[in-house]
Amino acid sequence: MLGSKLKEALICFKNLRVTLPYPAQSAPPAEGFRGRLEIDIDKCIGCGACAIACPPRLINIVDLDTKRTFEFALGKCTYCARCAEICPEQAITMSREFELATENKSDLNITMELTMVKCQECGTAFTTQRIRDKLMAVLPEKIEIEPAALDWLKLCPDCRRLQEVHKLTEAGT
């Protein structure tokens, strides 16, 4: 009986304090830790793959006039890093930041705007400037196409289809 009590006391005395003096002394997370996500707006082309990949759908995309707005509602983020994995431009990275306590959930939100381009024919904004610029630059390197074919990229998918139909019907008659 007394032996047990002594052993129990010994365990307590041996370990004394196990908690760290945390706010006074910093406690860096382990390597490979996934903290608050960071977005490099210069790298983002606005493809929206992250919005599709996000399991709880926290990334909202709104197209309005010539602006594509990305809203990251990070108050509910579980730091799964699926968006960072899927991003083709590596614009999203997981930082090591974990001290995110706030009184207002919306403090964590990130909003980002990208410019969209208008279709030359009908004038509707259909994709971001950066996606089109990238395609213009990358396509001639990857495949053999006539320079004139790049004009297609200046049209929205609907107008491309219409133009092709017109070409075919003219050729037929």
């Binding site: 365990i11 382990a30 830790f33 996934r34 730091y79």
Partner: protein, 252 residues
Amino acid sequence: MWLCELITGNRKTYGMNLIGGVRRDITAEQYPKILEVVGKIEAQLKELVNAIAGDTTLHLRLKNVGVLPREAARQLCPVGPTARGSGVAIDSRVNHPYAAYPETPPKVITKPEGDVWARTLVRLEETFESIRVVKQALEQMLPGEIMAEVKEIPPWQEGISYVEAPRGEAIHYVLTGPDNRPYRWRVRAPTYTNLQSIPTMLKGNFIADAPIIIGSIDPCFSCTERLEVVDTKAKKIRVYSQNELREMSKKR
């Protein structure tokens, strides 16, 4: 939790499992760290077990308290340590081996007494068993691919899985929907079945013992925060909301 953070990248929301496999492999540098932490836990646990084994104060407090006899346990179907503490040898890792458990079978630990002390002992001994399984699994693990490529998840397909969680068998049901997303997901957490045996355990005990009896099943109330009352005579079912329960608890 430090170990979880090291292996998965987060302390609680691991985000490890995906359809097709797991997202991170255990690296060569992590092996000795895992063994070190696990070894430390084992040593400290041995000290603790050694100390409390002969502690008569604890025995007086826990033995013959909150007894769930084997027969009652069979009828109420608790799972995990709650069942094993009443001598019902069920463990889905052994009864329906999944993942790597056929290669690293754990020993099913049972105690026939069915009291709080028996459940405590089952949990303690199972911790040693788990440490042994972790060590064995690390030893036997082979290098290789951790993910299979899954392109499209067919919609409107059902899946059901069972896992032996620390509290007992957890069952997850998923109905897939369009866009590679789940449409419906239902969890039957172990506390849901374990909680049914609480009235039997409480019967004939002192009110002072109620907290340790309820605590002995290691309940997770967030898994069970709903109450359905079935009136067998009127054949009616009623679900009480959180506010109703709060009002009821205020009334005498």
